[in-house]
């Protein structure tokens, strides 16, 4: 496993969040390239690099950038999604607290490429501490005259998970209730107050300076053909050294857990891994064998890579209790817009409580399967389908544990 640090290069340096340390270590050097490249050339480079959105979806960033009009009468906007709330995911937090200037550099380049004069960073409300670091860096950047071409404003969310969904985020940014919007019928940019808007994850934007400075091929030197580059993979759960460690796509999952996570705690056996935040289907230890960390490999085993925030569970873990924990989260966080999600999230949580309380029946488990079906693909956003995936993966892969509770 080779070490590759694109985004986390400066994380280890003392005072890495300051402009002087950033500058001393190559910060803002990619801006020199803006004299060389036109906006459309930058978009082309990003597209050629194969950079994929790192907020969980993994869509091609370049294709998204291409949707932004280059000659718009309306102002264009960049919105950086820092509403990092997926349980198991805490990578963007590292960027804004350890290398906020990398994000700012990425924002400046992106704004140049999409001709935006205003960027918003929508930050999770609970990240106040990191927001202050980021704001300090933005202030420093203003002071150094780096933000002449575009303005950066931090907008603090009020604590709703759903506002991490880009259209709900924009609704919230517009001052409305954070409800996802109906999907457009064709490919188009997002809209902020009716103006063309690009929404990208923090890490996606933080990857831009490297690509622009070193070229698309340098980025493609890492990762796989379809999943080029690196990701700030993260680990939590029953491991010795939880944390965020950048690795290239295609890295072997178990080797990664072993090398960076120091293996499962107390020498216990591995039972399961939720690969990329709780909304990805759970994997058994057996499924993890030989599995590589990239979008395609995870899809092939019926899960998703998500944000790469792995939750590792040892052999003593009660899967029904894990499921209950996750369902509680969904129950709390469903925005309540679509009926299947609003009622299904609560109902499945309540059923699971019955099951754990020893009051459940086989019919209750059947009902969970039925609910998983009703919640899948019948709502505006993918929140309810995520509950479906989670329910189905837990109930089918660890069925005996659940059945033991309803006997």
């Amino acid at each position: 496993m080779r070490e590759c640090k694109i985004v986390s290069k400066k994380f280890h340096l003392p005072n890495s969040h300051t402009l002087s340390v950033a500058r001393k270590n190559g910060g803002y050097e990619a801006l020199e390239k803006l004299k060389e490249y036109s906006p459309t050339q930058i978009v082309a480079i990003i597209k050629a690099s194969g950079l994929r959105g790192k907020g969980g979806g993994g869509a091609s960033a370049g294709e998204k950038w291409e949707l932004m009009p280059q000659n718009s009468e309306k102002p264009s906007f960049l919105v950086v999604n820092c509403d990092e709330s997926e349980p198991g995911t805490f990578k963007d937090r590292q960027i804004i607290s350890y290398d906020p200037h990398l994000l700012i550099e990425g924002i400046i380049i992106t704004c140049y490429a999409i001709k935006a004069k205003q960027a918003y960073i929508y930050i999770r409300g609970e990240y106040k501490e990191y927001q202050d670091i980021l704001q300090g860096a933005i202030d420093e950047a203003y002071g150094a005259g780096l933000l002449n071409a575009c303005d950066i404003t931090i907008h603090r969310g009020a604590g709703a998970y759903i506002c991490g969904e880009k259209s709900a985020l924009l609704e919230s940014l517009e001052g409305k209730r954070g409800h996802p919007r109906l999907k457009p019928k064709q490919k188009e940019p997002e809209w902020y107050f009716g103006n063309p808007t690009l929404v990208n994850n923090v890490e996606t934007i933080a990857s831009v300076p490297f690509i622009v400075q070193n070229g698309a091929e340098a980025y493609r030197a890492f990762g796989t053909q379809k999943s080029p580059g690196t990701l700030l993979f993260a680990m939590s759960g029953h491991i010795n050294t939880p944390g965020v460690y950048e690795a290239e796509f295609g890295t072997n999952m178990l080797e990664y857990i072993e090398q960076y996570g120091g293996g499962v705690k107390n020498g216990k056996k591995l039972k399961a891994v939720i690969p990329g935040g709780v909304s990805c289907g759970v994997l058994t230890a057996k499924e993890c064998e030989g599995l590589t960390l990239d979008y395609e490999a995870l899809r092939a085993v019926g899960s998703t890579l998500g944000t790469g925030g792995m939750i590792v569970m040892d052999a003593d873990t009660s899967m029904p209790e894990v499921l209950k924990n996750i369902l509680e989260f969904y129950h709390e966080e469903s925005c309540g817009q679509c009926t299947p999600c609003r009622e299904g999230s609560g109902w499945s949580d309540k059923i699971m409580k019955r099951v754990l309380d020893g009051e459940g029946s086989k019919e209750d488990l059947e009902k969970l399967f039925e609910l998983a079906d009703t919640m899948n693909g019948k709502t505006i956003c993918v929140f309810a389908p995520s509950i479906s995936i989670v329910l189905l993966s837990f109930l089918t892969k660890f069925r005996k544990e659940f059945e033991a509770l309803v006997l």
Partner: protein, 458 residues
């Protein structure tokens, strides 16, 4: 103008405008599709997920309110899969619903009840005893009561106050199954169209304080009528009922859709105007404030006409039906009387707005104008025959045809209100509409033309 394309629904051919909403076509063609949140005026919100249909080539069922009509589209609304999906979503809609239909005013005109009969009819699989509790009987203001537990969160009411009245009093707070409709902090529902949210609410969450517990809706007869509150001529349903041993009584007005006039809505003033039709009515002939017999009234009428020959003015109320106005004109010509219809008294700028409320508070003033009737006050007449005009006129003698009691010593004859007779009205936009008799009283009162006929003037 987009082109018209062919589309197949449940094996039948239809034609529709390309890129129009599929749900509009389904509604228009009378193809049953359940929905809570969609509304022709408020548009698609896509939250209730009930209007699922199958589209050939699409893996999953799609909501018809967010599907655009395309050439050659093959839609299916009746397959087992679609029925199953609708049933499952309905089941979810019901898990936290109190199912208090026996005490709910919406029962009988409730979408949730109707869809359950159509798609549900399942035995409850709900093993969770505790439903989510919310507040019941919240007075939102403007005669609207809210029961948060019955709410299906379709957001029609919040969209109405956001998009139609733009007053933004209502919002949804809380997430997931804790989400509920409420008024914004420190505010009450307060706009001139607020009660429309009661009609918009597909379930019993929003009910009218005025109508609550008054009647079961299935006992009501809905007659089509035209509101007389102003010159707009909003189309309404007159919901009335004749209880055993009692008289035919109006319990509510509801808006009746007419895209050329009022769309889906009416103002609250118009909605509540039914009350005055049943209060303070002139019910018998009076003279010097005392009740007199019909024969005595007839004699007094003839005597006055004879006494004041060649000096009579007839004053017409601009709310009367055109047919009435015409027979009054004929009568006036027969007795050689001058005709007036002063309009100034109906003008009320404070009532008007940019939606439906007109500054002319007379339902048929346009007919007065179109017929060229003098709109000044009567001059030099010694006898004034006041055909329900709201103004008081000075003359040696007066004969009144009144729907409502007023302070007067003059000969006054009771007449039917507009809901008790039929006729045409021309609204301020010159649209002529017909209003049918809705209410049939035990002892019906005559119209002015009935009187004139009875008195020998035809």
């Amino acid at each position: 103008m987009s082109r018209v394309v062919d589309i197949i629904i449940d094996g039948e051919n239809y034609r529709a405008e390309e890129n129009s909403l599929l749900i509009d076509l389904l509604i228009q063609e009378g193809i049953k599709v359940p929905y809570f949140c969609y509304h022709e005026t408020l548009g698609a919100d896509g939250n209730c997920r009930m209007c699922m249909v199958g589209i050939e080539g699409q893996k999953r069922p799609q909501i018809a309110c967010d599907t655009l009509v395309k050439e050659g589209m093959v839609v299916n609304t009746k397959s087992d899969t679609i029925r199953e999906v609708r049933k499952n979503i309905l089941e979810l809609e019901l898990i936290n619903h109190p199912v208090d239909c026996p005490t709910c005013d919406q029962a009988g005109e409730c979408s949730l009840q109707d869809f359950y009969m159509e798609y549900g009819l399942h035995n409850s699989k709900i093993t969770i005893a505790q439903k989510v509790k919310h507040d019941k009987a919240i007075d939102l203001g403007a005669n609207v009561m809210l029961d948060q537990e019955r709410c299906v969160l379709c957001a029609r009411c919040t969209r109405f106050t956001a998009e139609i009245t733009k007053t933004h009093e209502l919002g949804i707070v809380g997430r997931g199954d804790d989400a509920k409709v409420t008024t914004m902090p420190g505010r009450t529902l307060e706009n001139d169209y607020a009660m429309n949210v009661v009609d918009l609410c597909p379930v019993g969450a929003l009910t009218s304080k005025d109508f609550r517990f008054a009647q079961r809706v299935w006992f009501l007869e809905s007659s089509e009528g035209i509101c007389h509150g102003c010159a707009k001529g909003c189309n309404i349903f007159i919901d009335h009922n004749k209880l055993k041993y009692k008289d035919d009584t109006i319990y509510r007005f509801r808006p009746r859709r007419n895209d050329a006039v009022n769309g889906f809505f009416i103002c609250d003033a118009g909605r509540l105007s039914y009350k005055e039709l049943q209060e303070m009515r002139q019910e018998s002939a009076t003279l010097h404030g005392r009740e007199i017999s019909q024969e005595a009234a007839k004699e007094a009428f003839h005597n006055l006409l004879l006494l004041h020959q060649n000096s009579i003015a007839v004053v017409i109320d601009a709310n009367l039906y055109t047919e009435e106005i015409e027979s009054i004109i004929n009568f006036a010509n027969t007795i050689d009387a001058k005709i007036y219809a002063p309009l100034d008294i109906y003008k009320d700028a404070s009532f008007a707005d940019e939606m439906l409320k007109s500054s002319m508070r007379a339902a048929n003033y346009k007919t007065i104008e179109n017929l060229g009737i003098t709109t000044s006050t009567p001059q030099n007449a010694t006898l004034i025959i006041n055909c329900n005009h709201p103004q008081e006129f000075r003359a040696d003698a007066t004969i009144n045809f009144f729907t409502h009691r007023r302070e007067t010593q003059a000969l006054t004859l009771p007449i039917a209100a507009y809901t008790e007779s039929s006729g045409s009205l021309t609204n301020e936009d010159n649209i002529t509409q017909y209003s049918k008799q809705a209410v049939f009283k035990n002892s019906p009162l005559p119209t002015i033309s009935d009187y004139l006929q009875g008195l020998g003037y035809e």
